[in-house]
């Protein structure tokens, strides 16, 4: 396999962009990517666009507006991991020697759905019983608190930390710090989760430029190395399952660490799929960053703060940035690109050299999640 580099990143700020459809948001991000990297459309060998609700041929509808029409272009759907899956396919194309310069992007507009919980897949036994994503995480949270002695205050601490991080991020949906009292006072959604334990549904887009070593050297923009790119699907069964241990994350992480030859202790920062505050505990443990059942204590000790042992979601995570489903995995890589190139501004993790991005989702019965993707990025 050939080494793969990230040589550019662009994000259309996340938030409520009612009436600006997914293709338009994606176009704005990709246009900025081309402008900031200085590449011309004929240099692009392939394109991958991730979106869950953007519709057929979304990637063509975005890329043809910036002159990328003719080369292979794919629209990728993998629920919350749609954007990261698009990046993974771009990585495959370059690692396999089939392309030297590829655009991967993710985009979503959720405002069109109105408020409340997102529609999940149909013809699913749990959804026909009233399952919603908040309920799934609420039950994981209840069991985590029960099994490991954590409290709702511990859950709130994640929201306070990540909203504090996001307060400094101009691309975040929420740019305002919150207190533990704000979380306690917010509306109950699914016990024990309150509204501020949950990420908002957002609109937004993000794009990255992936390229070969030779191509990266020709560009004026700085590059970082993509050391690992992994996608896994959920292990389907309807037997008893430990819902405090997201096996899909553990399996994807093991493969990513092996591919990158990196240990959890080497990580300087992680952009993690904190769709709900309890998810940060579950996934930091499955990623090997905290001992089993101990993540909540590490959070309380400040180990996951921006200046802590390893910064978890220094950009604010999904809790602050928001969650335009298909765009989330790509924006995590954009944020990490700026961290590793020293361009993260107020969000900068001092001396950041190794970053991991993690996105997982898709509510279908019988699996932890439908799809999970992990990327590991390094400065060299």
């Amino acid at each position: 396999m050939r080494p793969v580099y990230v040589a550019g990143a662009a994000v259309h700020p996340f938030g409520k962009h009612l009436g600006v459809n997914a293709a338009e948001l994606g176009f704005r991000a990709v246009q900025e990517l081309l402008a900031s990297t200085g590449i011309s459309p004929e240099q692009v060998d392939a394109g991958y666009g991730g979106s869950t609700y953007g519709g057929s041929l979304l990637a063509q509808r975005v890329l043809q507006r910036v002159g990328v029409s003719g080369p292979p272009v794919y629209t990728v759907e993998n629920a919350c991991a749609s954007g990261a899956s698009a990046v993974h396919l771009a990585w495959q194309a370059i690692a396999g020697g089939f392309a030297d310069c590829v655009i991967a992007f993710g985009t979503e507009n959720l405002s069109g759905f109105g408020g409340g919980t997102l529609p999940l897949t149909t013809n699913d036994i749990e959804i026909s019983q009233g399952m919603v994503m908040t309920a799934a995480y609420a039950m994981r949270a209840q069991r985590y608190l029960h099994d490991f002695g954590a409290t709702v205050d511990d859950l709130s601490r994640v929201s306070v930390k990540n909203r504090g991080n996001g307060a400094l991020n101009p691309r975040a949906h929420f740019q305002k710090a919150i207190s533990a009292e704000d979380v306690e006072d917010s509306r109950p959604v699914a016990d024990p989760l309150r509204l501020l334990h949950c990420c908002p549904n957002s609109d937004g887009a993000a794009a990255v430029l992936l390229c070969s070593e030779a191509f990266a050297k020709e560009l004026a923009t700085p590059s970082i190395r993509m050391r690992a790119s992994v996608v896994r699907s959920g292990d389907f069964h309807t037997s008893y399952r430990d819902m405090t241990w997201p096996d899909i994350t553990a399996r994807a992480a093991k493969a990513a660490y092996e591919m990158a030859d990196i240990k959890p202790s080497d990580l300087d920062l992680v952009e993690l799929h904190d769709a709900f505050s309890v998810a940060e505990f579950l996934h930091t443990e499955a990623l090997g960053i905290a001992e089993r059942g101990q993540a909540y204590k590490a959070t309380a000790r400040g180990e996951f703060d921006r200046d802590g042992r390893v910064a978890i979601s220094p950009s604010g995570g999904l809790l602050s940035r928001g969650h335009p489903v298909g765009a989330t995995g790509v924006t995590q890589i954009c944020e990490s690109y700026w961290q590793l190139t020293g361009e993260a501004g107020d969000l900068q993790v001092p001396g950041a050299e190794v970053a991991l991005t993690h996105v997982t989702g898709g509510g279908i019965f019988g699996v932890d999640n439908g799809a999970c993707s992990i990327h590991i990025l390094t400065t060299t």
Binding site: Q129, G130, A138, A190, P192, T238, Y240
Partner: protein, 142 residues
Amino acid sequence: MNTHTSPAPTLVGGEWIHQDGDHTALMITKCHNCGSTWFPPREICSKCASGNVEQALTGSRGTAYASTVVRIGPAAFKPPYVLAYVDLDGARLLAHVETDEALAPNTPVELKVGAIGEDDTGPLSSYLVAEVSEAPTSGDAL
């Protein structure tokens, strides 16, 4: 629930429900090739793809693995409503709970059939669970 000339309730998952007097059981699939247990039942094992499977009935008692009160959710289920993951003779399934509060983990429960909501086609009923004081038994499984 309204009683005036309402249509017969839609029985969600009705094809898997087995009722005998007060006793409610669910159809599950046991794979003889790999030992997997499946709910909803199926003709081919979704683990090993073997057709060497047996359709069996669960007992009526299980244990709540986790539970929540859904306070914002689909209108058809009339939030707030209580859900639980229930462990029942080797299968874990999601069910409504006949209560106002989330069940604590490991609470013993019993299968029943009852109302879970109402959509544009009329009332919805399905299998659901209620807390029981006794320890679970599975001796009545076929």
